[in-house]
């Protein structure tokens, strides 16, 4: 008899998760507003602004309730999404680092949005978005994501140091001038360099981005739409050589995992950053900061970055709710809230013309660089959407700036690695 009781106990323990699951799914089926989950990334003002917009969306209507869940940096969010997919539990809307749209869309993780765009009767206009920002939401001619917190790489400089060094109060116009400015900003005392002209990032999230910008400026490409890697061509070689020479020949720059901290601590005069860093850098610096275009060389052209919103739910009902939500998040009013707080670029023509955005840029004309650069953008290299693409380019930057590997060799290795990655995982 006792044995029966134990068996009963075991049965109960086994049944517990099943019961919980049943309770959970019943809740989801209840009528009333549709509850959806939004996975967000980014901290500081950029994170708080998203939470505020979610709150406003929930207050604005009663059909959809969005729960925002913070999932760490872009890369961590991707990891959790992978784990969620493997476990069959995914959120409804995700904030994605723009190059990853193709990677997830390719394997059917993202819901195509074209049907929603066609049947929308709320006056939503796809053509209102800035074409250069909408472009990387597409994969094989289907729309998977809307531009949300978009950014371009910029050059930030310490105006005080520029004045001290007798430099003009503007960002260097070419990479050659950047090298020259960097030399003039560097201070050596007692055989030790106490101040560097510039710091390059070697960290996972953005190392590849600034390098792409340099290659674009020299008139080249990292890879074309058909995944032909162009790293061994002259523009990439010129960019790589200049970066390395600044570190090892001139000794006026160095590679760092966290250049912004070096910048805020007055250790370096110039750093690269996203337009999205504007809010943080301007508010945290104890000295006057200015933002300018990335240096050009033969061209003024930068790879556009930042985040897009994509729908991951598989249920039709929830997809419709998610569509309402991302439409709200990307509309002009939301951008008018987001842009002044974070420094991100307005994503549409109507948000550029929004009175609050207009007022913001007339109050802070130095931040207008975010809009001015809009016309000089193109999407990132196709290889970025390979699983290991950003990492292989980061390794290239590390080899150049830390390992002092000859540029021609480092570039050839990166090209071979990227091609192998493409053949193995993407083709």
């Amino acid at each position: 008899m006792k044995a029966m009781r134990y068996l009963l106990l075991i049965a109960l323990i086994l049944a517990l998760p099943v019961g919980l699951w049943a309770a959970g799914s019943r809740e989801a089926q209840a009528s009333g507003p549709v509850k959806i989950v939004y996975w967000r990334s980014l901290t500081g003002v950029a994170g708080e602004a998203q939470d505020e917009l979610v709150k406003r969306f929930n207050a604005s209507q009663d059909r959809v309730i969005v729960e925002a869940q913070f999932q760490g940096a872009y890369a961590e969010l991707n990891q959790k999404l992978l784990a969620g997919l493997a476990a069959g539990a995914v959120p409804d809307v995700v904030l994605l680092d723009s190059p990853f749209v193709a990677l997830f869309a390719k394997d059917g993780v993202l819901a195509p949005l074209d049907a929603f765009v066609r049947s929308d009767r709320s006056g939503f206009k796809l053509a209102d978005f800035i074409p250069g920002l909408l472009q990387d939401g597409y994969h094989e001619n289907k729309l998977y994501a809307l531009p949300f917190m978009r950014s371009t790489p910029l050059l930030y400089y310490n105006r005080e140091m520029f004045r001290e060094a007798g430099l003009p109060d503007r960002a260097p116009r070419t990479w050659d001038e950047f090298r020259d400015f960097s030399r003039r900003l560097t201070v050596v005392s007692g055989g030790e360099t106490t101040r560097f002209g510039a710091a390059f990032t070697t960290s996972t999230t953005t190392a590849h981005w600034y390098f792409q910008a340099a290659v674009y400026a020299y008139g080249g490409l990292v890879s074309d739409e058909k995944f032909n890697v162009k790293l061994t061509e002259a523009p990439a070689l010129a960019a790589a050589t200049l970066w390395q020479d600044m570190v090892f020949k001139d000794k006026t720059a160095f590679g760092s995992l966290d250049p912004h901290t070096e910048f805020l601590n007055r250790r370096v005069g110039m750093v690269f950053g996203s337009t999205g860093s504007m809010g943080n850098l301007f508010s945290r610096a104890t000295f006057p900061v200015a933002a300018g275009f990335m240096p050009g060389q033969v061209k003024n052209l930068v790879p556009v970055g930042g985040a897009v919103l994509a729908v991951t739910s598989t249920d039709k009902n929830r997809q419709a709710a998610a569509w309402e939500f991302i439409k709200y998040m990307t509309n002009a009013d939301s951008q008018a809230y987001l842009v002044p707080r974070t420094g991100y670029m307005p994503n549409s023509q109507s948000s550029i013309n929004h009175p609050e955005v207009v007022a913001y840029f007339s109050q802070y004309p130095e931040r207008k660089v975010a809009i001015d650069q809009l016309v000089h953008t193109r999407p990132q290299a196709s290889v970025i959407s390979l699983g290991k693409g950003t990492e292989l380019l980061r390794q290239l930057v590390e080899k150049l700036l830390v390992g002092n590997v000859a540029p021609a060799r480092a570039l050839a290795e990166a090209k071979a690695d990227l091609e192998k990655e493409y053949n193995e995982t993407y083709k």
């Binding site: 070697t202 760092s256 699983g387 290991k388």
Partner: protein, 310 residues
């Protein structure tokens, strides 16, 4: 002991023919009590191990609905993968340094703090405190300590007239920096285990040795060290496995860099699985790590018979 074993054996003999109702009840109780444990272990330990082994024969990115069977290709890739070998080497260097230096320092501190002295509890608490500090906080604070320009360590190094290395940014210095942090954060725990071991050594041995005119040094080498050997053995195994599984400090302080000079095997598995979408290759790496840990543990258990005195 022997007598009891015989009794148990005897009763087992009898019941080979028929289980008594009492034994049936016992068996049911056994199953009842252990089943939840087996269930948990099964779901969270055994199944993942088996599934990793299975996945290691495939190419898969965790998203695609289809897994491609590639046989032993992941293992062959590993042989030619320089980063794998480097992370393996780094892991073994870390393990060796941790075992020798950390356990040595812990033993020194334990014998020191086993004697009666003022504020002994406070010293013990201070040295133990990293044990209950989250590793993320430890890694962040040490990141600042190692800062080549503003770091605390720079002040000390400059004070003795040397120039501070760029700890975390230099291929030569990054791994030593990680080793320092791992030792610092683990030494307190080892010390406490040693202290517990020391209280088990009867004072009589020391008294007898003193009567025979033994020096404190002789007492330490001839009494303390041999009688602590079971504790040392336990700490060695735990430390080696801990070092082989090192991850958090590396992830936060260096991301495995610069140029993979601090990449360790678990971090490399993580990078492959979750950053680069290479689930199959990561599983193959995990299987290899599993085998290595098993071999090391078996070897240690074998070898321990020569130097551990219970």
């Amino acid at each position: 002991m022997a007598k009891r074993a015989q009794l148990v054996h005897g009763s087992a003999d009898k019941t080979r023919k028929r289980l008594s109702s009492r034994e049936k009840r016992d068996a049911a109780a056994f199953i009842g009590f252990t089943f939840p444990n087996f269930l948990l272990l099964g779901v969270f330990v055994f199944w993942p191990i088996i599934y990793s082994l299975y996945l290691s024969f495939f190419r898969w990115n965790m998203i695609a609905p289809r897994k491609t069977f590639i046989g032993l290709a992941n293992y062959r890739t590993m042989i030619g993968d320089a980063v794998f070998w480097q992370s393996m080497r780094n892991t073994l260097v870390l393990a060796a340094a941790v075992v020798v230096v950390k356990i040595g320092i812990a033993l020194f501190l334990a014998t020191l703090l086993n004697r009666k002295m003022r504020m002994r509890g406070a010293y013990r608490a201070i040295i133990f405190s990293p044990t209950f500090t989250t590793s993320v906080a430890i890694a962040m604070v040490w990141g600042w300590i190692f800062d080549p320009n503003f770091g605390l360590l720079r002040v000390f190094i400059n004070a003795v007239g040397l120039r501070s290395p760029n700890w975390l940014g230099d291929v030569q210095w990054a791994l030593p920096a990680i080793i320092i942090v791992v030792i610092w954060s683990g030494v307190g725990y080892d010390m406490v285990i040693f202290l517990a071991g020391l209280t088990n050594i009867s004072q009589e041995y020391y008294d007898a040795a003193q009567v025979d005119g033994a020096t404190p040094w002789q007492c330490f080498w001839r009494i303390t060290v041999p009688l602590l050997s079971p504790t040392t053995f336990f700490l060695t195994i735990v430390s080696v496995i801990g070092a082989l599984k090192a991850f958090d400090i590396v992830a936060i302080m260096t991301e495995g860099g610069p140029l993979n000079s601090t990449n360790v095997i678990v971090y490399y598995i993580y990078q492959n699985a979750f950053q680069w979408f290479k689930t199959g290759y990561a599983s193959a790496l995990a299987v290899v790590l599993f085998a290595i840990i098993m071999i090391i543990t078996l070897a240690q258990t074998r070898l321990s018979k020569r130097w551990v005195h219970y």
